[in-house]
């Protein structure tokens, strides 16, 4: 699969490990990523609060560049970037006048021919085609799949998975050997919008997410968004302080979990860059036991 690639600022900075791990697994998955030449900031979090045209023009510029470069599909791993790009695409599709106006602002004809894909969509497609024995070290841990707020919303625009109870990541995790837990915080807010200004709120919201994952026996939280990762990993200590208990919950990008299952070295997946150490409790045959549990659960339900 050959795709245009829009890393955005996060993946070149705070979420470098997202980019590194994605690049690391791409060859094994037959994924070729070509960076959009001269891409610019998507304007996330700041632009759309201040100036609508600016908020549309910034992503439109990148999309127009992708069109010029001949891409039909662009992978946008960061949820915030994804949201901005797909919203822009949607709004300009609805309003021909606006499309022309924005084209004029960016000094390029924006046509709207490029599809914007998130990381789950792309992985879903690849996994559907089959991994054919590529999973050498099954990621056999109970995991909490955390989608965050932006990946599946608004449903009208993204038209992807179920907005309140998405399943794509859970399915992906199952395929690499993990057991996704049934939990309630899949799409709850982590407080990303207040990541800098109100860290107390972030601590409270993130703490709830961490607590539920821990209570239900998750050994890791799997994310697909740099902001989610920042709040759950970087601010975990603060969340622990707020809650008055230890979580020690590793937070992995799904690309890292996939990488581990593919048997790639931890270093290549940049696991060492996390603040919460990525380590799992040592159990005697934990996977087999967990598997048996999950397998018996639905059967037990139907019996009752």
């Amino acid at each position: 699969m050959k795709l245009g690639y829009f890393p955005g600022c996060s993946l070149q900075g705070s979420a470098g490990e997202f980019d590194e791990s994605l690049q690391a697994i791409a060859p094994a998955l037959g994924l070729e990523l070509i960076e959009i030449p001269d891409w610019s900031c998507c304007g996330a979090s700041a632009a759309h609060n201040l100036n609508r045209l600016l908020a549309l023009a910034l992503p439109a510029r990148t999309l127009a560049l992708a069109e010029r470069a001949g891409f039909r599909e662009v992978l946008v791993p960061c949820s915030a970037c994804y949201s901005r790009l797909i919203l822009t695409r949607h709004e300009l599709e609805q309003d021909e006048g606006l499309r022309r106006q924005v084209s004029e602002i960016i000094g390029m004809e924006y046509q709207g021919t490029v599809r914007v894909l998130n990381i789950l969509e792309v992985m879903g497609q690849i996994f559907q085609d089959g991994l054919k024995g590529k999973i050498t070290k099954p990621f056999e841990h109970p995991v909490a799949c955390y989608y965050g707020c932006l990946l599946v919303r608004p449903p009208k625009v993204v038209q992807f998975d179920r907005p309140e109870d998405p399943r794509t990541m859970d399915e992906l995790m199952k395929k690499i050997g993990a057991e996704p837990i049934d939990w309630a915080f899949k799409v709850e807010c982590c407080g990303a919008g207040f990541s800098i200004s109100r860290t107390d709120l972030v601590a409270k919201l993130s703490s709830k997410i961490l607590a539920d994952a821990q209570r239900r026996g998750a050994e890791a939280i799997i994310v697909a968004c740099p902001m989610c990762h920042a709040n759950l990993d970087m601010r975990q200590e603060k969340a622990e302080k707020w809650a008055g208990k230890k979580y020690s919950m590793p937070v992995l990008y799904l690309t890292q979990a996939i990488g581990l299952a593919l048997g790639l070295p931890e270093k290549k997946l940049a696991l060492h860059q996390h603040l919460v150490p990525v380590s799992f409790p040592v159990k005697a045959k934990p996977a087999a036991k967990a598997k048996a549990e999950t397998a018996s659960q639905p059967a037990g339900q139907s019996e009752e």
Partner: protein
């Protein structure tokens, strides 16, 4: 030579607002054959009708064009006016200058020009009109009622009591429908079964009603007054004549854990079962999809136990053919599937149930004998959260429309819960409270003020289980969207009322249209609420839209009175717009070649074969003949006839060509 009068209606502002009436009248006067042209503010009013009447007499008109609204609106009115004045009704035509012109265009010269064109077209048609006479067809005075819920029961009883025969067809093993499942009914809190079951018994015992339960409509042919209906009577697996309804079979059936449909899966049933003790008829059926004998070829425990020797494993389905004059469709509704809002955890958490399931919990005949106990552990719930609009009024979560009954039944549920669990706390999350109806608002106030039900205006975003409790997260929008979290023991979703999953198929079978939600469509939402666009087929109840019981019953009686009116005459008049086969004098007799392409093309089987013979009985040729009672005037045969031997009365080829050439 034709003497045609043109009568232009202003329809108040509706037509005159965009079309210049003076110009139309003036132009009409110049059309050859038009001898009289006049406009008036409301042509359908009494003075307007008088204008037509007088002109017919004074000017000796041979044709009338009323340029006004759609013929569907007022053609019968103006045709009647003509007939009263001695002009054959079928010499009157409508030019639709409202729906086809003034309503859909701006005020302009072009709009007026189009109106003139429409008048000219109809003048050309009218010139070629011939007097036609209505076709008389006999009426079969038997009504078919589809669906044995409260609507079907009411309609059947009303028609039967008017002295006509009724055939009531019900898909399930018993009549009673959803109403039989309900506990108590708003706003009076009278027990649903107590008021319904006497009527069910009345249906079974009425001499004019033939009841076919566990039966489905197979096909409908024919037309108003003369429908030919096939009904599939599904094999119950028992001989109904021998069965006494003693119930021993169900006691002996080893399969006891099948979720009961009647109890909305809150209780269990056996493979041979009677849905509920008051079922009518009180005869069991065998669930062939689950019965061990049908699946594995052995068991027959019921056969061994049956004292009446009534079990018939090899009973086949039976097709019953009946003739009816009218059909009343009362097929009801379904509860929306919960696929749309996985965040509420229905199906995942046992203690998240829907409204119908709560009805069974609260019902004295239900699985808990009326005690409110949560399904997971049978404990009495201390806190119950009711969520209104679960799937209604939100296209992202189900359907756009309001399910109408949920505000009321949710108030009732909360009230019933409080009456049974005094120390309990009921919460209701709602969007708006819609309590329009006799004593409805008072009922809701009573729930809030006297029974202390806690109403929270806001939506629930998520429900999840934590330490044996259901955490209900929502917002209180009257407190500035303040987040609310309630630890509940039981959650009841007021899931939306939707059309039956088979509604579309049924609509096609009975030739009735349906809306985008698959509810069956009435002929006019206000003025013809129980009729459909197919003559002789009527609707009542929730197959049409969400309805409560009083409304359903009123409408069922309405449909029944329409049927009774239809059956009040021995013959029906039908419009003579039918196909006719060309006939002429000998030696040609008819230009029909007898290829009978028309016979194959006719969707209504209206083409017959006629032998033309000499006086001494020698066959000259076989030609097509149209059965005037069956022909619907669709014109398919006319289009296919290679010899042009077929034509449609009132819409002849000659007329249609003339209309086209007039533009």
């Amino acid at each position: 030579m034709s003497r045609i009068g043109v009568f232009l209606c202003h329809c108040g502002e509706n037509i005159a607002g965009t079309v210049d009436p003076g110009k139309v009248v003036e132009a009409a006067n110049r059309i050859p054959g038009v001898v009289h042209s006049i406009d008036y503010k409301y042509m359908c009013s009494d003075p307007g009708q008088s204008l037509i009447r007088e002109a017919i007499k004074e000017k000796g008109l041979t044709g009338v064009i009323v340029a006004a609204c759609s013929p569907r609106m007022h053609e019968p009115t103006f045709r009647r006016v003509c007939a009263e004045s001695g002009l054959n009704a079928f010499l009157c035509e409508m030019a639709n200058v409202r729906e086809h012109c003034s309503w859909v265009h701006e005020k302009s010269e072009l709009t007026t020009a189009k109106a003139i064109d429409l008048v000219r077209i109809m003048v050309e048609k009218a010139k070629r009109n011939r007097p036609l006479f209505p076709i008389k067809v006999p009426v079969t005075k038997t009504a078919l009622v589809l669906g044995g819920g409260i609507a079907g029961i009411q309609a059947s009883l009303d028609i039967a009591n008017a002295g006509h025969k009724v055939i009531l067809v019900e898909r399930d093993p018993s009549i009673g429908g959803h109403m039989a499942q309900l506990s108590e009914t708003f706003p009076t809190l009278d027990c649903s079964q107590c008021i319904l079951t006497p009527r069910m018994v009345e249906v079974a015992q009425h001499p004019n009603i033939t009841l076919h339960t566990y039966s489905e409509l197979e096909s409908v042919d024919g037309f108003i007054g003369n429908f030919k209906v096939k009904i599939r009577k599904k094999a119950r697996g028992i001989d109904e004549k021998l069965c006494t309804g003693c119930g021993v079979c169900a006691q002996k059936c080893p399969l006891k854990k099948i979720p009961s449909e009647f109890n909305a899966a809150m209780g269990m049933r056996t493979a041979i079962y009677t849905p509920f003790p008051q079922a009518v008829p009180n005869k069991p059926v065998i669930d062939k999809k689950r019965c061990t004998y049908y699946l594995k070829g052995k068991c027959k425990a019921c056969e061994k136990a049956c004292p009446a020797e009534a079990i018939r494993f090899d009973q086949p389905d039976e097709i019953i053919e009946v003739e009816t004059g009218a059909i009343v469709c009362t097929t009801g509704f379904e509860v929306l599937s919960t696929e749309f809002f996985p965040e509420y955890g229905y199906g995942k958490y046992k203690d998240v149930i829907n409204g119908l399931q709560f009805e069974r919990l609260a019902s004295a005949s239900g699985p808990t004998l009326g005690a409110i106990r949560r399904p997971s552990d049978g404990k009495e719930p201390e806190t119950v959260v009711f969520i209104a609009c679960a799937g209604s009024r939100d296209p992202a979560k189900g359907i756009e429309y309001c399910s109408k009954i949920c505000c009321m039944y949710t108030a009732k549920h909360a009230m019933l819960y409080k009456h049974k669990v005094h120390q309990g706390t009921p919460y209701v999350f709602y969007m708006d409270i819609r309590a329009g109806g006799k004593m409805y608002e008072e009922f809701v106030r009573r729930a809030i003020e006297e029974d202390g039900v806690k109403y929270i205006r806001g939506r629930v975003s998520r429900i999840y289980e934590q330490d044996g409790k259901l955490i209900v997260k929502g917002a209180d929008t009257l407190l500035g969207a303040q987040p609310v979290e309630i630890e509940a023991d039981l959650v009841v979703l007021a899931t939306a009322m939707v059309a039956n999953s088979g509604a579309e198929e049924l609509a096609k079978k009975i030739h009735v249209s349906y809306d985008s939600y698959h509810f069956l469509a009435e002929a006019h939402p206000k003025l013809r609420p129980v009729e459909t666009n197919t003559a002789g087929i009527f609707l009542a109840g929730a197959c049409q839209a969400p309805r409560d019981i009083p409304e359903t019953v009123a409408q069922a009686s309405g449909a029944a009175s329409k049927v009774a009116a239809l059956f009040s005459a021995d013959e029906l008049s039908r419009e003579p717009v039918i196909a006719v086969v060309h006939r002429t004098a000998p030696p040609i007799f008819s230009i029909c070649e007898g290829c009978f392409m028309c016979e194959q093309a006719c969707p209504f089987q209206a083409i017959e074969r006629e032998e033309i013979k000499t006086r001494d009985g020698k066959l000259i040729k076989v030609v097509a003949k149209v059965n005037p009672g069956v022909c619907q005037g669709c014109g398919t045969c006319v289009a296919l006839c290679r010899a042009k031997a077929l034509d449609l009365q009132g819409f002849s080829n000659e007329q249609v060509y003339a209309e086209v050439m007039a533009v």
